[in-house]
């Protein structure tokens, strides 16, 4: 069974060797003219202003997390809608329970003020 993997092993080894040779030759023979402009981070051709890691208000993260939570709720609705008729009453009850659980989370987030921007 392990013999079947030999082709992949040879491929990985070959790819590694070729990549090392290509980059190594460039490093060996290529001209190197370093300047301060060249070592700047690339930002679509515009001169960068300030450091790359700026502090962001943590509120963005909270909103993002809440968005993901309720976004996933919608994703779960789609497959349910596709097989709605086959699942019948059972599916409807399951979905109702699912929504109620999310609703509890929603009420919790709302009451805790997670939805307020200020």
């Amino acid at each position: 069974m392990l013999l079947e993997y030999i082709a992949i092993g040879v491929m990985i080894a070959l790819a590694t060797v070729i990549a090392v040779i290509a980059i190594g030759l460039g490093e060996l023979f290529g001209p190197k003219k370093r300047s301060s402009v060249k070592s700047e981070p690339y930002e679509s051709g515009i001169a960068p202003i300030g450091p790359g890691t700026r502090r962001m208000p943590v509120r963005f993260y909270l909103i993002a997390v809440l968005f993901i939570l309720f976004d996933i709720e919608v994703i779960f609705f789609l497959p349910w809608a596709v097989v709605f008729r086959q699942l019948g009453l059972f599916g409807l009850a399951e979905m109702a329970i699912f929504i109620v659980i999310l609703l509890i989370g929603y009420i919790y987030a709302w009451k805790k003020g997670a939805l307020e921007w200020e």
Binding site: M1, L2, F90, I101, I104, I107, Y108, K111, K112
Partner: protein, 490 residues
Amino acid sequence: MPPLNFSIILPLLVLTVWACLLLLVDLFVKNKGITALLAALGLAISLGITLSQVGATGTSFNNMVVLDGFSTFVNALLLVSGLFGIALAYGYVKRMGIERGEYYTLLLFSVVGMMLMAQAADLIIVFLALEMLSIPLYVLAAFARPNVNSEEAGLKYFLLGAFSTGFVVYGIALVFGATRTTSLAGIVSAANAASSGTSSLLLLTIGSALILVGLGFKVAAVPFHMWTPDVYQGAPSAVTAFMAAGAKIAGFAALLRVFSLAFPSLASDITPIIAVISALTMIVGNIIAIAQTNIKRLLAYSSIAHAGYILMAFVPYGQKGVVATSVAAGLFYLVSYALTNFGAWAVVIALEKAEGNPSTGSGQRGLEIADYAGIGRKHPALAAAMTVFMFSLTGIPPTLGFVGKFYLFRAAIAGQFYLLAVIGVLTSLISAYYYLRVVVTMYMREGEPETTSEPWLNLTWGLAAVLTVIVSLVPAPLFDWASQAVLKLF
């Protein structure tokens, strides 16, 4: 679709609904003590249902969830642990200025995950339960926010926990690759059928070893114990007490069920690994504990060492005649460890002070062993209780720890793991040094200790001390229940 039998998971369902409602009720309740009492009521109701199911068996959800004596025993233990956890937290969170209602909701959700772990009959459910019990514990570890120690504990636990979960999932994937099923019963028959071809058995062995790594992390076995001292020290003491007992019980419940049910055919490969892990855990935990001066770190290393003792029960899992008594001894030791653990942490909480800089957690907080000087004279009852717990952790009669260790060593000898039993006895001797040092400090050093007296806290250490002694005098009923619980497994 076969009809779903919801009565199999009724205690779980009740607790889940209760936790969801508690989250809502807590929003409108100013007095967080009411939240705590409601949470305890939910656990008590679930415990009542669990106890009414003693003797009942069955499976549901396409054989993914099982109800049997084993799960009933472990679930009852977990629910009682949850009640202890709430009793410890009730006054503590108020005193430390971290009283938030979410504490109790998270604790309930964590208990639900642990109970599901005990009932899992499918690797997918094991994984689901592992996440359900872990994620609330990560949050609880960081609950003393903005205390940096607590935040560090939460982050460390989360990162390393996520890493170890990766091992479990990879292990499950390999097992599935080898057997084309994730059901514990299905894996056995697939493994027996495939024993002619060696390649898939190799995959199965690697997969089960990876599952062992992930669960070994949860129960803090060496060499997967690195997180334990820091997390146990940084997390609020009440959380640590619950984490040390609950996560360990659930982790061992999963290990016992998964390995003895799904991988008995791998025993010749896995048994030496577990034996080495068990020996290492006992040795490393007990020896490093000698050097500790902080009581929380001391108990953390003690918790590592006890993981080693419990693992001993699990070494002869492939030997048909021995495994039942051995697993029963493991269950008995879990009870004894949980009870002693909650008692010892209750004493730690009674001495812990909220003073010092809250953002760094430094300053005199009553967490050094030196702070226990003089308790013997000023608070004789508290000192006597702590002495019982230290004796029990060492394994000195007449305490539950002694009886537990007796059953464990007997099982190891019956399985012909003599060396392991010798290591267990020797490391117990080593542990006497640092456990008894606490006792010596309490009785033979002069000091002015400050303790807190709260009704629920006093009840916890008082009850734990009395039970530790009384049950050790008549251990037979508990051991019989444990033996009955594992009987149907094999």
